[in-house]
């Protein structure tokens, strides 16, 4: 057996026997009277990239945002059920939300660098969280984060340029570097490549592949080919319900549920 097929076998086994990093049990989300998420239970695995797919309005982004309590910022949103990070209830009253969002980082659809230098974009998080003892250590974190985000070689000579002067793809990788800089455990990505051209998209996908294993990664995407390319596990949401969750290669070749099949084959609605 070749190394490649052994690697694939190992990846397949990891996909089959997950090591849960986050667990959601019976999660419902309400915006006022409207129920956006209906009783969703799912495990987010440490070693695999998890993709959330589904039509617009199916609740996948809403559910993603419950994983680091981003819905707290929406006035009339209410979350029922239980979400645990390494067994710890993230909706418990004693949970420090700022700390939680450092542990569970987020990358958005539209790159949103701070209107500051490239260096400051990455250094800001570690500085406010007190992760660096001095200038040298902070420089080290900035370099390491930019390297992991695959951006270092492109920006090392112009760290004082504005983050907003970079190209769209570079800005998105800067945002990933910014999320990485505070040493998170989980990275949530909400359509991270939908505003990027195919080359920048490929770089983000390659980056996701490289970051896998170091961080638990959850990606929401409208692009099914992208979900197929980057994830090992895929969850299909429809009308606020989790319809099917399984190994990506199986879900895309032989889905169990009729609704999943209709959606992925383009027969939806």
């Amino acid at each position: 057996m070749t190394d490649n097929s052994l690697n694939e076998l190992a990846a397949h086994q990891r996909a089959q026997t997950p090591r849960p990093k986050m667990t959601a049990r019976g999660v419902s989300v309400f915006y006022g009277q409207k129920q956006a998420i209906k009783n969703v239970s799912i495990d987010v695995d440490m070693d695999n990239v998890t993709a959330f797919i589904g039509p617009s309005g199916c609740g996948k982004s809403t559910f993603l945002r419950t994983l680091n309590r981003m819905n707290d910022t929406i006035g009339n949103a209410r979350v029922d059920g239980e979400i645990r990070l390494d067994g710890e209830n993230i909706y418990a009253p004693e949970m420090d939300v700022v700390q939680l969002r450092a542990r569970v980082g987020m990358v958005f659809q539209k790159p949103n660098p701070f209107p500051k230098s490239i260096y400051e974009n990455v250094a800001y998080g570690p500085r406010i969280h007190g992760l660096a003892g001095g200038k040298a250590e902070l420089d080290g974190i900035v370099e390491k984060s930019l390297r992991r985000a695959g951006l270092w070689e492109e920006v090392k000579d112009r760290l004082s340029d504005s983050g907003t002067a970079l190209s769209g793809g570079q800005q998105q990788r800067l945002c990933i570097a910014r999320a990485i800089a505070v040493d998170p455990e989980v990275i949530l990505m909400d359509e991270p490549a939908s505003a990027l051209d195919p080359i920048a998209t490929a770089k983000i996908e390659e980056l996701i592949h490289e970051l896998r294993g170091r961080y638990a990664i959850v990606i929401v995407t409208h692009n099914m080919q992208q979900a197929a390319r980057v994830s090992q596990r895929t969850a299909f949401f429809h009308l606020g319900e989790l319809i099917e969750y399984g190994v990506t290669s199986e879900l895309f070749t032989n889905p169990r549920q009729e609704r999943t099949k209709d959606y992925i084959t383009g027969r939806y609605g």
Partner: protein
């Protein structure tokens, strides 16, 4: 089945099925006509069959071209993807079946008009079994009917039995009368070709099953090749 939101995708799938159906129809007809040509020693019909095999080869190329195009442009998934992959493999198998029919037609001039060999009288019945298997398995493909595919698979046993029996008969003939060896050897090849057509029909059945069910046919439903040699 519900239509695709992108209607052109449905058109592509319909075209792909149409090409497979045409290939299958031509291969089936080639088998039947080759047997008629053989029993009636019709040299013109035999050379027509040989010439027409080119059309089956062209259709295989058309299936490949369209399947690659569908994969590139439509990115099919789930049962759509399995159907396209199955169509590619089935086209290759039918092309091979066409070659067997052509090979039978090529032997027509080599087997005399006034043959005394009894085996020749049972070969058309054997050919009919094999070509019915092909016909029914392609119907199963069009209908995504995995149960029909399993049923076709089980019929291969009868074709194998035919072959084993023809083999022994021809062997006896050759031993009793060495003057028949030339013709008998050709008839043996004809029987072997028909036996292989049955085997190929079971390969198609396995692809139909995979396309419809998303998993491979269970070992017990597969064809154990019972042809002795």
């Amino acid at each position: 089945m519900q239509e695709h939101t992108v209607k052109a995708f449905d058109d592509d799938i319909v075209r792909l099925r149409g090409l497979i159906a045409e290939m299958g129809g031509r291969a089936e007809s080639a088998i039947e006509r080759a047997m008629v040509a053989l029993t009636q020693h019709d040299l013109d019909a035999a050379s027509t069959i040989v010439a027409e095999d080119k059309r089956i080869d062209e259709l295989e190329v058309a299936v490949e071209t369209l399947a690659v195009q569908i994969i590139a442009l439509r990115a099919p998934l789930a049962d759509d993807l399995r159907e396209v992959v199955a169509a590619l493999k089935i086209a290759a198998v039918i092309e091979r079946i066409g070659d067997y029919a052509k090979n039978i037609a090529k032997r027509v001039p080599l087997i005399g008009r006034h043959h005394q060999i009894e085996a020749l009288s049972v070969l058309p019945a054997m050919a009919q079994l094999a070509s019915e298997m092909l016909h029914d398995v392609l119907d199963a493909f069009a209908a995504r009917d995995w149960e029909a595919a399993v049923e076709v698979n089980q019929r291969d046993r009868a074709v194998d039995d035919f072959y084993n029996s023809v083999f022994r008969t021809l062997l006896t003939f050759m031993m009793e009368n060495p003057a028949t060896i030339g013709e008998a050897a050709h008839l043996l090849f004809v029987a072997k070709n028909l036996e292989r057509i049955g085997d190929h029909a079971t390969n198609v059945a396995e692809m139909v099953y995979f396309a419809a069910q998303g998993k491979h046919m269970a070992e017990r439903d597969r064809n154990d090749d019972l042809a002795e040699v």
